[in-house]
């Protein structure tokens, strides 16, 4: 049994929620998102993020614009679309439900 895989799967499930949530307050480019996620220990390697961002963008949840950078090549700034906002709301509600359900389930089992 590969526990690492299970852990990765758990992280993966909430990764999209975290990315959308991050972009709710401010637009960001990949590096910033990666920094935050790394801090929260949600991702281990950066490479995992790019396919995810592309998928969210293709799904219409995210849009991006190019911005010149002082320290290098132009950067892709991701921003949340209307669809993304509603998706975030949905995912957030679902996450809270899931959290509650998991906690309740664990507590109930432990009390017995």
């Amino acid at each position: 049994m590969n526990l690492e895989n299970t852990k990765a799967q758990m992280r993966k499930g909430v990764l999209e929620l975290c990315i959308l949530n991050m972009l709710q307050s401010r637009d960001a480019y990949a590096n910033q998102i990666i920094e935050d996620l790394k801090k929260a220990e949600l991702i281990v390697v950066e490479g995992t993020l790019y396919p995810l961002l592309t998928r969210l963008k293709n799904g219409g949840l995210l849009a991006y614009r190019w911005e010149e950078s002082t320290s290098g090549p132009p950067r892709k700034y991701y921003t949340l679309t209307e669809l993304g906002k509603s998706a975030l709301k949905e995912l957030h509600a679902s996450w809270e439900k899931l959290q509650e359900a998991v906690n309740q389930s664990i507590e109930e089992t432990n009390e017995k």
Partner: protein
Amino acid sequence: MNKTLNINLGGLIFHIDEDAFKKLEAYLGTLRNQFHKTNGGDEIINDVEHRMAELFKERTSPSKEVINRLDVDEVIAIMGKPEDYLQEEMEANYNSYESYSSSKKMHRDVDNRIIGGVASGLSAYFNINPIYLRVLFLVMLVTGGFGFILYLILWAVMPAARTTAEKLQMRGKPVTLSNIEDFVKEEGSAVGRTMSEIGGRARHYGGRGSNALGSFFAAIFQLIRMIFKFIFKIIGFFFLGIALIVIGSLMLSFFVGVEIDGVHFGQIEFEQAMAVLSLDSSIYNSIMIGLSLIAVGPLLLLIYYGLRIIFGIEPLNSSARKGLVLVTLAGIVMLIVSGIQIAQEFDDSGYQTTEQIVPAKNGMIILDLKKDSILNEYGYYNNENPWRIFNGKSYFTNVELDIKRSSSNRSYLITKTSAQGRTRNQARFNSRSLNHYLVIDTGLVMSSPYFTLAEKAPYRAQNIRMTLYLMVGDTVYLSDGMESIIYDIDNVQNYWDPDMVGHFWTMTDRGLFCTDCAESEMIKDRWDNEIEESEIQDSELEEEVEIRDGFIEIEEKQVHLERQNRPKMAIMLAPPQESFLI
């Protein structure tokens, strides 16, 4: 010393050691292979290259211009191994492979339909605005109706996109989980939009068509669609109506009965017929069951299709259809078998004859009909309907009387009753099993116009043929009512049977001769008959006129001669009036 290469990564130029380049190239190559089938795979690679360029940039400085192998290892460690990408995107990857096996399929777009969703389905397949196809269909409809037929065919051939997967296939989108998700969300919001615009359908279509023309056609199609729906519902009601009317009229005709040509048909008649035929109960049952089985299939189908058109219930499955066909076939077979069994009862024929002397009274014999309430009930002259039911009893009018010249010096009556049966003996037996009123007295023959069957005797096409052989010189008087039994009696004046009644007829060497018919009347009748006959001959000949001209002349002469000769002959043959005793 190391050989370096210049590379362009994410729009930036880097100097890179050869071995470091090889490692970087292998890494990016693996990634490219991994994502080349994924939707937006190039973009992912671009993003990755950009990020790597940033990371390399951080690792270069005026004092360290060249990227070495160590830098590459570090950056790859940050970005993650290709397998890490894969693990994250496992699901998307798996689905993307599937998407290549699922091609576009043509479906009817029932969600955006005006009539059957053919145009919207086609436009989704070809990725064009459906309004063009709709206009095209309308143009083809107006110019010769081809569009109508084409539309119906497409409607029948194209399956409706009912499931989400079918709807995605119709649009050519791969059936991936995320696509289905997107679609469902889209649909959900579309439904929301529609609901918010429930205030007016016109507004809905106005919003859909981007211009006035669009909304105009949308309105027209909406109208056509409603008309079609209406027509189909009408057809449905029509089917149902037919079925119900057929059932109703069958029940009604069976229990109450119907009048056809003044003859009553119904349950009483049917039961009588069965009783009169004295069939085995097994034959009776198989007839009844066979009739029901034959009726059941078509009626069920009519009801079913009526309901289906009106309420759109599921089509009959093939086993149910086969079952109905089998039921109908079974009914037909049962009817055929019982028909053959009945036919066998009528296979052979037999008869019996009786001869009775009829003594004349002063050379006179009165032929009379026995008159009773049954006769009054049904009238006298009813040869067309040989079977009558009165108070639950069957009466048969297959009674005939003919008059011929006796070759001996006495008058006599021969009664021949014949019948059918399974064998000749059976038929002969059947011919005896009937009751017929016949009285022969001096100068009188009285017959009933009908016969009845003996107790429990079956009807096997019994009939009675009476022939009065009249001695030359004897005279008969045909009493009122005799027209219902006399049949084709030859006479010199060539009177028709009904006209012979009420007259005196004397047997002469040349045949039966009317002694009290007015001479002028006879001649006039002859002439009338003659004109009729010649007219018939002429009209029959007209076809031959076209073939041969000479032929008509001969024919016409013959007709002419006949016209002149016959009346003379009739006058010449008339015996003196005083020789008749009345």
